[in-house]
Symmetry: C3
Subunit: 311 residues, 3 copies
Amino acid sequence: MARWLGRDVVSILDFTRDELLDLFEAASGLEGVLESGRARRLLEGKIVSLAFFEPSTRTRLSFEAAAKRLGAETIGFTAAEATSIAKGENLADTVRMLDGYSDLIVIRHRYEGAALYAAEIAEKPVINAGDGRQHHPTQAMLDLYTVNRLYGTVDGLVYGVLGDLRYGRAATSFLLALTRFKPKMVYLISPPLLRPREEVYMALRQQGLPFQETESLEEVLPELDVLYVTRIQRERFPDLRDYEKVRGSYRVTLDLLQRHAKPELKVLHPLPRVDEIDYRVDGSPYQAYFLQARLGVPVRAALLAKILGAW
Amino acid sequence: MARWLGRDVVSILDFTRDELLDLFEAASGLEGVLESGRARRLLEGKIVSLAFFEPSTRTRLSFEAAAKRLGAETIGFTAAEATSIAKGENLADTVRMLDGYSDLIVIRHRYEGAALYAAEIAEKPVINAGDGRQHHPTQAMLDLYTVNRLYGTVDGLVYGVLGDLRYGRAATSFLLALTRFKPKMVYLISPPLLRPREEVYMALRQQGLPFQETESLEEVLPELDVLYVTRIQRERFPDLRDYEKVRGSYRVTLDLLQRHAKPELKVLHPLPRVDEIDYRVDGSPYQAYFLQARLGVPVRAALLAKILGAW
Amino acid sequence: MARWLGRDVVSILDFTRDELLDLFEAASGLEGVLESGRARRLLEGKIVSLAFFEPSTRTRLSFEAAAKRLGAETIGFTAAEATSIAKGENLADTVRMLDGYSDLIVIRHRYEGAALYAAEIAEKPVINAGDGRQHHPTQAMLDLYTVNRLYGTVDGLVYGVLGDLRYGRAATSFLLALTRFKPKMVYLISPPLLRPREEVYMALRQQGLPFQETESLEEVLPELDVLYVTRIQRERFPDLRDYEKVRGSYRVTLDLLQRHAKPELKVLHPLPRVDEIDYRVDGSPYQAYFLQARLGVPVRAALLAKILGAW
């Protein structure tokens, strides 16, 4: 579709339902052929810049694997090297440099709006690999793709989104992505301190997402088809005792799932996790986060291929 | 030309006018085909080592993009990793390692003479990507290529070289490169503290470069065809008040250019810049530094292709 | 051979004499064609992960060069980046990530057993690039390959292994590797403080390696065909005076070799070296460590090619 060629990917809200389904179809088509090496000439001769101003091994390596499975090359820098750039040069000049050296720029940045700013400066397409507290569109794409692959649809399901809904961009992007589909219900499960920011509530209401807030995972667990877990960071809590309480009640254990969840429930997590999901869940049928991590490659490959006109 | 095959690139003074023109022709030929992917098999199967003992994102990434546009692969390390090498091993052993693993070594090092030393040890060709305070030959090549592309010639023009002419290797290499051509006049514009070192004066005189020194940018600005700006670093000044004065008088603003410069004046800068060029110059016809940055890729690609026998 | 396909490489003791000879044959076959680019399609479309939790430029770059000479791509991280992973995530999750993104995982880790653990988790083959104090199997492979190339055989020779036999994994792996062959004698030359650990002695005895301990290099030097030197680190010694004594007596100088060694003696060293081998040895016929370093590429390429089914 012409709409993909040369396109920037800044927010998941830039995409319609049909576009996302179209992307899923491409990802599905690529899944079979990436590892076999049959897609290895699709982006031959292309260079993808990976500008990671903030550390993220998982996102960086999955973009890198996606590009290289398609025969593209990558250049770029990681957060450690970015420090020395940051001292000397403004973001605009760095983006112009990459714009001159490569065919597409993937950017990860600590500040809200960095990807949009980069997209305005660069002539080449820019993909937001996470900026600020709100946007991580390719994570949301692969999250929904995983749901779609497990259930054959994203619609009609009951979702629980658990953890830090205030500062976690994966959770927020997932919620925004759900507005493009027709979930039956979305439970926002978090301690009061980590509820979404007002602007996110407004976006969810405006987009007509059916949601309800709760502090209790146990209460809603029996209804859920998908539980999206995110990390709760200690640093968010002024009082450590509050943190210890919250952490205990939001820890997803195998026992908790076996007592309360439907057998079909699937647990997602953007990873890395620390201890918010017990390792005993790993071997259970609830676990879907390792599959989800793996699917980052075909989804990002599909995005690269479409934007660079190869699919 | 047989003279390029396997050749080391240590100083810009190793090259004749004809060789540089020959390089420019190759760069010009590559400019059209690098991004289209049509040059992507020229260096297939080759490995280029990027040994950056000193940080330089711009130079590193442009070499990497150049190599990869031609189908070569790169291996290497950045300054952060180099620290752990430096502790354990002398430069000679590191160079021998890269000599065994790759087909060409690009080296960036803090110390004067490191590239020459590497070239003596390595059997494979070595390219100096900046060492010490004097030599950065590939920067000079792309600088002159940019002038040549803008004016159709390097000869007969009036140049101003502004900033730190004492410690800045880009400025010094640019001056040395100009000795290979016939500029009408070269103005060395700097505060007394940052005038070239005696050895550089000697080289310029010996090579017969027509130059004049001045402290005032305003005074010579009306005559200039090319203004080459470099950064003045605070650390160079024992007295901060001296720095503030100098910094103010050497700041290139749009207003200054519009009041004093010819309309055809082109402003170059090796980048990164901090605040020595006002951002309002970016959108003006004087600005040529973004083009210059971009041209680093075809010039370095031409050099790699010629040295490795592919062009 | 079917035995190689998909195989993990954790310890040199996992390999039989025949398998090692088979590997040497492949390495020998590749030596001629790697630099010419004729092997550049063997692993096309494959991705090799380089997970270096501990710094090692030499090992990392030789794996990277090996993979790229065969047309494979690499993704991964170096020790500097690994720190930020280590904070957030356990080794198992990191390994699962790489397992999902690539076709083979090369891992270097500070802790004993990390590679075995990774191999148990990953579905894709895992190669140990050094873990703990004992195992560095690919180093041992290239060490023996070097001996084999120099003498036409590994059997029947007199070996001296010098230096830190207690904490140095290269020395230990070399000793374990020798148990697969029939050396005439192996001298363990070290100060008492740096003698092998009990478990290593047990392994050597159990495997029937003919060895003798000594503190004096001079004494056994006349008998040696191969002298394998490793670094003695100051940090190992509670008393600095002990260190200074040991260091002096174990320094391999040209004079020492000329006075005591056979003319055919070959000196190996896994590198990097600091001052345990005098630089004047570099230009002498005794020196074989630069060749040895170079041979890391064909040996590792052979291993990758066999495990990934391309040779």
